[in-house]
Symmetry: C2
Subunit: 369 residues, 2 copies
């Protein structure tokens, strides 16, 4: 079946870069935080090859920011995540699972500390703004919570350092992983972080003001012609190879961070005050009974996973696959899924119920890349 069309209304928000994305021949979108997120330019396979070999510019405006500002911003940000933020410094980005009172994942954002009383939470696909506003109101915290006009633009791929340096100067080369620097562009200060939703390396530029979007896009394309810079997007193959989870697909409110392999980001045994601490303390002691794993599914290329594919061993269910793609580099179907502890060891052989019938598969302790 061919892919259905997406009907676009104002509710499916355009971004500061949408005109450029369209001019670069976007073929498909998904919707992410009520916003258009490109998924295909040339083809998923061609985009993948190019991402691994060259450098791409990605419109990831849909990574909306929730801004916390005010005297209680620090208290509130710690309330939101089981990760201990006590030593977080200005200039740092931290991956911060956020959970509800039962320890269920609400989002897995990156938090940026901009000042002692100012944070940005760069969110995955759920209206985390509503959760944070609700908490702040209910708890009578003295803090403003809002969505600023900030739209991230990512530079990803092995030539990302070179391209970023040509536009922002050599200072970008010294930015450490998950740190940011504030660098000037057209006389304005922009947060430039070494981060991004791929394993190919690169930066995310927090474009602070819609009016800067097209000038920055154009500057990157002008500077990168000989680097073969192209418009790209988070790649459905590469992110599965890299084990980068997608909130809503590979994890939902049903899952604890520990199930998502994010236990190392939960310092609930320290005396931090956060929502869900009691629930997660229990999980931390007992350990999860299922956890995210990579899988290699045998046989011909499978279609993408639009729902849940159950996983079996000896005829009994032992998990579910939630993302899948054919990998040209590994010449197998790469997948992510939630697997029960009885079958999550490296090398375990299982069967996956795909739209193409039962397929044998192998559980992997590690990601592909």
């Amino acid at each position: 079946m061919s892919a259905p069309s997406l009907s676009i209304t104002r509710r499916i928000r355009r971004t500061p870069f949408t005109d450029r994305v369209e001019a670069n021949g976007v073929k498909a979108y998904t919707v992410y935080n009520h916003m258009q997120l490109p998924t295909v330019f040339e083809s998923v396979e061609a985009d993948y090859r190019h991402l691994k070999d060259h450098v791409q510019v990605w419109d990831v405006s849909c990574e909306r920011q929730v801004e916390l500002r005010g005297p209680d911003a620090g208290k509130l940000i710690q309330m939101l995540t089981p990760r201990d933020l006590g030593n977080m410094v200005v200039g740092q980005c931290l991956y911060t699972p956020m959970v509800d009172e039962t320890g269920g994942m609400l989002n897995d954002p990156v938090t940026l500390k901009l000042a002692e009383d100012k944070y940005w939470v760069s969110i995955a696909d759920s209206d985390l703004l509503f959760w944070i506003k609700g908490l702040a109101y209910g708890l009578h915290y003295e803090v403003d919570v809002d969505e600023p006009d900030v739209s991230p633009l990512a530079i990803q791929g092995p030539k990302a350092d070179e391209l970023a340096a040509r536009v922002f100067g050599d200072a970008v080369r010294d930015i450490r992983f998950f740190r940011y620097k504030v660098l000037p562009f057209e006389g304005r200060d922009l947060v430039v972080a070494r981060s991004g939703y791929s394993k190919q390396g690169g930066f995310e530029i927090y474009v602070d003001g819609t009016d800067l979007g097209e000038p920055l896009w154009d500057a990157l394309f002008a500077a990168g012609e000989d680097l073969q810079v192209r418009a790209g997007c988070p790649n459905g193959i590469e992110r599965i190879e890299a084990g980068l989870l997608s909130y809503g697909s590979d994890m939902t409110r049903e899952n604890t961070p520990h199930e998502c392999g994010l236990g190392r980001f939960c310092q609930t045994q320290e005396a931090i005050g956060c929502v869900g601490r009691n629930a997660l303390l229990r999980v931390a002691v007992e350990g999860p009974t299922r956890q995210v794993r990579s899988l290699a599914i045998d046989g011909d290329p499978l279609p993408g996973c639009s729902g849940i594919w159950f996983v079996y061993a000896n005829g009994k269910r032992c998990g579910r696959v939630t993302s899948c793609a054919w990998s040209p580099d590994f010449e197998t179907n790469v997948a992510l899924g939630m697997i029960r502890m009885t079958h999550w060891d490296d090398g375990t052989r299982v069967e996956v119920e795909t739209p193409d019938g039962m397929r044998t598969a192998t559980i992997r302790e590690n990601t592909f890349i």
Copy 2:
């Protein structure tokens, strides 16, 4: 430009009816509450004609429910809306604008009272679950807030009473507007409400359990063959003619209920305790300075409105159009927009900056249907 494709992953959730929707030839979707919502079957124009003449079955599972249950459910539901719920009875559905502390719209759901300590909030396109959970946690209310496995299926069109009666019995004919009855289907109790996102009349059935989805769909199609029942969806033309607002398109967190023409649902001058009361009290006294209006835009059929079209009078901006469609019945472009008080009177002539150039238009006090 042809419509782009929609890439579907698990994050864009299927519904209990998606298999049937696909079998009925859905051509396009939008994404609503992280879920697939059909937008076109035959064509928007053909679907419109059929909706006004016959009866359609709509997969509106994306109207997710937020369930409030527990001793403080009643206190919490009143905290959420400026509408006075003091006299609300079990069996009633109420349109309930919900706002943040500044009076900005967070959602415009329909609230159903199922018991003194149990409510469903049937939501528009934002994660209202997060707001309600955050408030309940912060306020230490004794209430469980969750998303149950409930997926509304709508029956809409002039023959809706006849079709619903054939499946649920003649009791449905006596259901008053915005009331519901609990009626049996295959031995299970379902909430059947006289409501829906059209002006053609009909019902919304709150399908409580995914397993009931296909049996109910099939029962409606089997019973309605001679009524020419068809798969349909909220129609982009009819809903604009009817002045039915779309959250995210025609109103956002920027707008107060008063700006959205929902002032009559705000009893902030009564002694109700709700979030945003202070902000809305001020608006109630001073009145809004802009408000939603219907417009007729002259000339040939325009494309749909994917962003904002500014409205001018004498060369000065006086509003914005946020939804537009060509109406076969009114033989004009019907539109909705937010218009400043200086130009919102019935019959005012304005100009709209469309992708097709400047067009003259007329402001209407009333909706088209």
